[in-house]
Amino acid sequence: MYRSTGFISFIFRRVSGVALVLYLFIHIWVIGSINAGPAVFDQRLALVQTPIFKLMEVALLAAVIYHAFDGIRLLIVHYFNVTDARKSMFYAMFAAFILVTIAGGVPIILFMLEG
């Protein structure tokens, strides 16, 4: 394993991307039940509303944010010549990811605790 910030960002991005794809299909399936009427919908939704899933939702949020931010970083690299700033960009991105995830995750957890 050649460990480096580049590698870390790559693995995280990839794992989060794949996780999101899996989630996406589940999501489409769940929402798809909407046409089957409230009962089915709520039933399927209930499956994904247990506390475990709430926690997973935080992970999901983290994945989305990480993936999106890292993706944006790559877009910037592509459109502007900024490879020299690669390290600082990564750290900045990572910091933003942590902050936003906390900001977004805390309410979810609070909400979950409230029941």
Binding site: R14, G17, G37, D42, Q43, L45, L75, H78
Partner: protein, 114 residues
Amino acid sequence: MRLFRMQRFSAIALVVFMTIHMVVVHYPPFHIDFSRIIERLDQPLWKGIDIAFLFFVLVHALSGGYAVLMDIERVNASKRLLMGAAVLVGIAAFVYGSITILAFHPPAAVVVLP
């Protein structure tokens, strides 16, 4: 290049849609239930946005998935199969998702039976 462009353009689109989606759907009241979705999906504008979102996210997800698999040397030989599968899954999911969005009318138009 085409895949790359699809991936990058859809990524840019997703930045926009994802933000809207997260904020509107998953935030303020922190609770998703049937009625809220009904309320929103009833408006044609939202239907349009959601379909576009669905489209981009599928494009992005499947081209991403394709890239992930194509990175693996052994998969390279069956790239046509992979591509075909991705397109099929994409179409299926898009149709299914679009029906969900379009076909929906608040007073349950569909016969509901569990």
